[in-house]
Subunit: 397 residues, 2 copies
């Protein structure tokens, strides 16, 4: 089988993992010939051949000897420009850049068609969890009804600490930062934005519809206070940030928000940096996949498996855009725990209340509106079955 | 894209599901032109075109119009003969016959190579759970260290009833039979044989080694009595039949036996007809997949996804046989709960004991030997971490 020559963009955590694996093991049949980095002089814990590093993107892109581009930089705009140029030069690309894929999804896939190249990006969604592969291949013969994901390890770590170890939000965040699980600026993670990028990518592969991340309503975990923590502990529930999308009557709805889960839910055992996805489909019913959502080697593995796909000339079933299916940002009424308000909130269907929180029956959009007046307001979805159980056990406060 | 014409062998539970799906939905691009059955006159809950049924296998195999054979009969020997003939006539085959694949694995894959055809069999292992796809594609870039599976819904149903609802083995089996979860002759399921077929197939895809099912030591669930049930309940543990294989220093070991799991284990939430598999690999770490392991539509979906693979000419990374890796039937010492003996058993390292059971440190082969003298002896593995927890909590009886 032909040996591929690749150019690598970015030599960070994932890039180094990919480089080391390809270097150490002939079996991959891919050799990295040139690596584009911002700073050649930077100290790196890697043995590199002389002259392999460059700061000039075009030195890689214009090199007709290279078949494949592995794109692993951070900046989405710069990454998109690299991918575009690679496609124009007939090179296939493997990427792990969730932000780039989410923001330019439609354009990239159109360009891929136009130039007849391949573009794989398993590493962009949930690290080593092969969810895009499954949606593209296994589920292409089924009809996906819904997809629910814990897709952000930082949030999951913080929520594990808060409910499991009784920490407050600020301490849990600080711990996460000290352990390297959270960035110094945690906004993208705790706001739910990162989960939304991944959800937007999965929606295309699950339903054949492009939904720009900005169209998906989101609510993060950065306003949670002790009331929800106490509530969760009291009822033996765990708190998870969940991105979910479902298809019903030709309409897709999606959102990202914190949610309570009980011990019978697959998400209950997902702790710390693990990610997990439940796919519900017509024929297969509910399936659950769980694995490491981030980290050097787990994400590198996703990249390596995509390189193998190129090598075996894997023609993945294309997610044809389904024009008959539309995205709708209407939200349906569900049961929510709400807290973080200063004064009473009027005009809500209250199912139960304490001084500092309500259990209400309302919808996401209404909560978003309320948040404009009550800036610290936060909400956590209580799935119907959990609410029923709490009620039947008569332990609802 | 070309529309494929297929011949179907077997119109049972899975066959009917596949036929209905292909009939109702153009998107699959596969039409079934002829169906071989044993009895044409049998009443079927299906609308079938006149003349589509035949009792003559050759009417399908010799028809040069048909590109694909879908093999869904029960008898492994007959199925193998059909597959062989199909290959000889240049036809690719999709099958869900675990017993045939497990018993003739090496021969079939050699014949596949010889005749340059394709042969997919996702439905043979754990119904809708896409484990072969993942091992062939995703994990082909990783190094699998171990694979552990709950692969038999009948056993899982019985064990759920015994520990969760306090039934005895006989009642749980009877319930399973009445609900259609167990065959009238449950031997293949409760003896662990069925799990062993599936494990043997997975071993090839995980490690590149053919291990005949008969080489894998097994111990079923058909001798469990109330002592293990009480023990599991007392310590909040669940009981599962687990097939497992690991690679260490170029040796593969494998076995099928009941095992205790606690609430932090992924298997804890697998109830009734669900199957689940934990794969531990070098780069990706531990991943877990869970889904419906049997049933008309879940298994049909596996078949349909394989038909899509043929349609998209999916060239799956081949599991080259690794000559440097050997199978070893040596077993290592582990911690076991043993019961079902009449008189005391001597010569064992006993960690704890009650009148009716011991907790011992020993190995599978030793237990197999002991069973020749003590016919009702049974054992259940207690993983080290669970044993430690029980000990630390000082609740060990």
């Amino acid at each position: 089988m032909k040996k591929f020559k690749a150019g690598l963009f970015g030599l960070g955590v994932v890039g180094s993992g990919v480089y080391k694996a390809l270097q150490q093991n002939e079996k991959y049949g891919v050799s990295i010939e040139k690596i584009a980095v911002k700073n050649i002089e930077k100290e790196r814990n890697l043995e590199l051949p002389n002259g392999i590093l460059t700061t000039e993107a075009d030195e890689i892109l214009d090199n007709t000897d290279l078949d494949i581009i592995i794109e692993l930089i951070n900046d989405p705009k710069e990454a998109f420009s690299i991918v575009k140029k690679a496609f124009e030069r007939g090179k296939s690309v493997v990427s792990a850049n969730k932000k780039m894929v989410a923001l330019y999804h439609k354009e990239i896939l159109e360009l891929r068609e136009k130039h007849g190249v391949k573009f794989f990006y398993e590493g962009a969604v949930c690290g080593s969890v092969p969810i895009l592969r499954l949606l593209d291949q296994h589920y292409k013969s089924d009809q996906v009804k819904s997809i629910k994901a814990i897709a952000n390890g930082t949030c999951n770590f913080i929520l594990s600490k808060m409910v499991g170890e009784n920490q407050d939000y600020a301490t849990a965040l600080k711990d996460a930062q000290e352990l390297g699980f959270a960035e110094l600026d945690p906004y993208s993670d705790v706001s739910g934005e990162d989960t939304r990028f991944k959800l937007s990518i999965m929606i295309y592969h699950a339903f054949g519809v492009f939904v720009h991340p900005n169209e998906i309503p989101l609510h993060g975990i950065n306003h949670l206070d002790e009331h929800i923590k106490d509530f969760a502990q009291k009822h033996h529930l765990k708190l998870k940030l969940v991105g979910e999308a479902q298809q019903q009557n030709g309409k897709i709805t999606a959102k990202v928000e914190p949610q309570l889960v009980n011990e019978s839910h697959d998400f209950y055992t997902i702790e710390n940096e693990y990610n997990g996805i439940v796919v519900d489909a017509e024929f297969s019913g509910e399936q659950f996949v769980k694995g490491k959502g981030a980290g050097s080697f787990p994400t590198a593995l996703a990249v390596l498996s995509n390189l193998k796909d190129l090598k075996y000339d894997l023609a993945i079933a294309k997610s044809l855009v389904k024009k008959e299916i539309e995205f709708s940002n209407k939200s349906k009424r569900e049961i929510y725990f709400i807290s973080g308000f200063e004064n009473e909130i009027s005009g809500l269907t209250i199912l139960d209340q304490e001084e500092k929180y309500y259990i209400v029956n309302t919808d996401f959009n209404r909560l978003i509106n309320l948040k404009q007046e009550h800036l610290n307001l936060y909400w956590v979805k209580i799935p119907q079955d959990i609410f029923n159980k709490i009620k039947n056990h008569e332990v609802l406060i």
